[in-house]
């Protein structure tokens, strides 16, 4: 029995360094969906990006002379699970920062916890506009380096407004919370441009036949559709367009880069829409190195943007820690709002990315216009885009 106890103790002692977390290490975490919902794909790839950034920081000697340890918590896309993960990470694991989540609803579910417990959160995926909005006078601990729905709407409507060929615009949205919030943003931004959509049509996210809605747009002579929907219904929308032989220009969100879209739309139709992503087809040398490391693990290369922006969240947070020379949540939050040195990220160079009022690291003008071609996402270019200036992105 004694021998057994000794053996167990020895095994435990041997396992400790393997587990890798000593008291000196800095724990960082991802809390988000990596298995449950259709958006889990961006969560999984984001985790790869964060892991790569943690590895790179450790290689150059860690942060404040300490090693980073990366914890991953799957919230299955469920808000209660996400809240539970959050309190566990803050109270028990005592992490220094939380990255994520994947789904906007989950960020909104625990936003107040992060703010109360002074836990810096860098959102690397979820795109709902409300996530980074301040709540009252309290300091806001949520920062984002990802697309923002409001900015996506701003970019899409700006293009439609600027394009001389777009004479009649139609808004097509799904009836989920995602689609309705997108429609609200698009309508407000269209009003800023002084344009009125000729038709507004809605469809259920489970619909597979949108011919009736499209027929109305066709009859009204609509030449440009701005679509706010998830990957699968977007695929069914372009299939329905082909059915009624109506192919207007389609402008849409990053949803088109998710695997569900090309799967549903098929090889030919997937090349039709123009959409937004955060990384260009030809990455920088740093981006190339990340692509070489995680590329082979990606089932869908077009989602590489999810890794690049997640990678950047870690770099920007690390820069704030170095500036604050502390891991204290309050000090890091203030440093993030007032970053002195520019950070060279994969998506762009972050020069004072955040301020007290603005917690968005990426803006509409940072987005890349993309389309599918030969099974890959490539840059989309046309004279209208070339002529667009920052002033066009009204929001």
């Amino acid at each position: 029995m004694k021998l057994f106890r000794k053996l167990v103790l020895a095994a435990a002692a041997a396992a400790l360094p393997l587990a890798g977390a000593s008291a000196q290490d800095i724990k960082v975490a991802y809390n988000g969906d990596i298995s449950g919902s259709p958006s889990a794909e961006s969560g999984q790839i984001g985790v790869m990006g964060i892991a790569a950034a943690v590895e790179d920081i450790n290689k150059r000697g860690g942060l404040l002379g300490r090693k980073l340890v990366f914890l991953v918590r799957d919230d299955l896309g469920q808000p209660p699970k996400s809240i539970q993960n959050m309190t566990d990470l803050i109270d028990r694991e005592q992490v220094a920062v939380v990255f994520g989540p994947t789904n906007s609803g989950n960020a909104l579910a625990w936003k107040h916890i992060a703010n109360q417990k002074k836990m810096p959160v860098l959102v690397s995926s979820a795109s709902s506009t409300a996530i980074t909005e301040p709540t009252g006078k309290r300091p806001n601990y949520l920062f984002r380096i990802s697309m923002v729905d409001r900015d996506q709407a701003a970019a899409l409507v700006a293009y439609a407004a600027k394009n001389p060929e777009a004479k009649k615009i139609g808004f097509f949205v799904e009836t989920t919370g995602y689609g309705q919030a997108g429609l609200k943003d698009m309508e407000q931004i269209a009003a800023l441009h002084g344009i009125k959509p000729t038709v507004i049509e809605k469809f259920d996210a489970r619909d597979t036949d949108m011919t009736s809605q499209l027929s109305k747009a066709k009859a009204a002579g609509v030449d440009t559709l701005v679509v706010w929907a998830q990957a699968a219904p977007l695929g069914h929308l372009v299939r329905s367009m082909e059915k009624i032989d109506y192919m207007p220009r389609v402008l849409t969100t990053w949803a088109a880069s998710f695997s569900g879209f090309p799967q549903v739309a098929g090889d030919k139709l997937m090349e039709w829409p123009v959409f937004l992503t955060t990384s260009s087809a030809a990455p920088s040398s740093a981006g190339q190195s990340l692509l070489e490391r995680i590329g082979p693990k990606l089932a869908n290369r077009s989602m590489f943007w999810a890794a690049t922006q997640a990678y950047d969240t870690v770099l920007v947070w690390a820069a704030a820690v170095e500036q604050a020379n502390s891991l204290d949540g309050e000090a890091v939050q203030q440093a993030l709002e007032n970053l002195q040195k520019p950070v060279d990220g994969l998506v762009k160079q972050y020069d004072k990315p955040f301020s007290i009022q603005d917690h968005e690291g990426l803006q509409a003008q940072d987005y890349h216009w993309s389309r599918w071609q030969g099974g890959k996402v490539v840059d989309f270019e046309d004279p209208t885009l070339a002529a667009m200036t920052a002033a066009d992105f009204k929001k």
Partner: protein
């Protein structure tokens, strides 16, 4: 305008055919056992994934692209029907037989539970993602009088009608069909006439589950296959059975097609009102015909 109507007509008939197949499944088990399989939706989705899995297996084993071989799809449809049909037996034995013919609603819970078990097992096997199934006869748009269709829609429509016709024929013209109807009419009398009542009841569950599995594979190339897709289809199928009259097979077929058409024609006016209109129609019909349009009142013996 007429092309839009034709487009809606064929779309409605296609989905209506699928609803009718599901409605038939409900009717078969209701008439023979006075119970319904509330897991019908899960049989649809799990059946689809058995089909998807079969196609992937064939592609892997023979190192071919199964999308270009229609017989792979045929085998998938067969596998889904057989696998789901086979699942109908444990469903009957575990979730129906202990409760059928007794007072109470235990079978409601036991069938729902059976479905949840099946769906969860399938989730752990295939995950929550959606899959696309390539249509066996190609994905090109076929134009008829200006309206566009894909081969699968026409195929679902034709196959559903053929199947409905075949089942209708079998129920009225074959001795097995007559036995089933005899059990439905009067279980005790049927038993006295030497009809193996137990076996007939089990068979009705097997056929009904096989129909669900087959419907799943049929619509998979039209919808994106997911393990959650069955619920809505089964709900519409159930409504179709209730509206048409659970006890009348032809009524169920009529109910399915009516709901499919109501759906697609409401869509011409406003897609958001589709479900509202469909269920208002269902409630209105039931208010006037409590046993459905063609149903008969079944007297419960007390």
């Amino acid at each position: 305008m007429s092309t839009t109507v034709l487009q809606a007509l064929i779309g409605g008939l296609t989905m209506g055919g699928v609803y009718a197949l599901i409605a038939l499944g409900f009717s078969l088990t209701y008439t023979t056992t006075r119970t319904l399989n509330f897991a019908q939706g899960d049989f649809v989705s799990v059946g689809t994934f058995v089909g998807v899995g079969t196609i992937a297996l064939i592609g892997g084993a023979l190192a071919i692209d199964p999308a270009s071989y229609p017989w792979a799809y045929l085998l998938a449809a067969l596998a889904a029907s057989l696998a789901m049909g086979a699942m109908g037996l444990p469903l009957y034995l575990a979730a129906i037989r202990p409760f059928a013919g007794k007072a109470g609603m235990s079978w409601v819970m036991s069938t729902i539970g059976f479905g949840i078990i099946m769906q969860s097992a399938a989730l752990s096997l295939w995950g929550p993602g959606t899959r696309m199934v390539a249509a066996p006869l190609g994905d090109d748009v076929i134009r008829i009088a200006g309206a566009g269709f894909r081969s699968q829609e026409i195929m679902v429509l034709v196959l559903a009608m053929l199947l409905l016709g075949a089942i209708d024929y079998a129920m009225h013209r074959t001795s097995l069909g007559r036995s089933m109807r005899a059990v439905a009419l009067n279980r005790d009398a049927a038993a006295l006439m030497g009809i193996p009542v137990e076996r007939i009841m089990a068979l009705s569950f097997v056929v009904s589950s096989a129909l669900a599995g087959l419907s799943g594979v049929l619509i998979a190339p039209i919808m994106s296959a997911s393990l959650f897709m069955g619920v809505v289809i089964a709900l519409k199928g159930f409504s179709a059975a209730i509206v048409g009259g659970l006890t009348n097979l032809r009524g169920c077929i009529f109910g399915g097609i009516m709901i499919g058409l109501a759906e697609s024609f409401t869509g011409l006016w406003s897609a958001q009102w589709r479900e509202i209109v469909v269920f208002v129609v269902v409630i209105a019909i039931l208010a006037v015909f409590p046993d459905g349009l063609f149903g008969k009142k079944l007297v419960e013996k007390v």
